[in-house]
Amino acid sequence: AQSVTQPDIHITVSEGASLELRCNYSYGATPYLFWYVQSPGQGLQLLLKYFSGDTLVQGIKGFEAEFKRSQSSFNLRKPSVHWSDAAEYFCAVAARGGADGLTFGKGTHLIIQP
């Protein structure tokens, strides 16, 4: 069974600083990879996804993520965070093919300091 590890429960970053959120997955092959963001009291919004091709994917709100097969990682980055980026970030994987549900990590809570 696939699993997702987000090793950082909380991360605090100063506004304007760069950000990297870590995500490692365990799966027998290369899965589909996603990053979702959840603001307080809100649903899940897709930031970006990796299916195939270029391992550096661009998403909304200035986010990007890099798939590294050798490290089974899909880390999320942003060069300069804004106060509005404060939220919960979830990495998720899905098996290729079929109607499998997403397997989510436990999430990383991002706090932005002024």
């Binding site: 979702y36 649903g43 899905a94 093919g97 109607a99 499998d100 997403l102 397997t103 989510f104 436990k106």
Partner: protein, 113 residues
């Protein structure tokens, strides 16, 4: 932009009562999903639904749960006899299948007293 909608936004019920959570998936999507998120925990997959039948389900999705697409637009999750531990946020999602992006609704917060 089309979106997944869910009603109600908050449901309070007594333990042992039945609840039905409703979702309207995006109209041209073929696969429908339910997830739950217990407060402070990760989002967990419950069930996927395609072509009017369950496609996959997790261990959480036991006999107290059922899903239905009663008409061409709604997708429902029924919890037959609610327990305190069913208190959670329930998310509906839909996609076109074959690895397409799943779009999530805003969720229904279920509180079981």
């Amino acid at each position: 932009e089309p979106e997944v909608t869910q009603t109600p936004s908050h449901q309070v019920t007594q333990m042992g009562q039945e609840v039905i959570l409703r979702c309207v998936p995006i109209s041209n999507h073929l696969y429908f999903y339910w997830y739950r998120q217990i407060l402070g925990q990760k989002v967990e997959f419950l069930v996927s639904f395609y072509n009017n039948e369950i496609s996959e389900k997790s261990e959480i999705f036991d006999d107290q749960f059922s899903v239905e697409r009663p008409d061409g637009s709604n997708f429902t999750l029924k919890i037959r006899s609610t327990k305190l531990e069913d208190s959670a946020m329930y998310f509906c999602a839909s996609d076109r299948g074959l690895g397409d992006t799943q779009y999530f609704g805003p969720g229904t917060r279920l509180t079981v007293l």
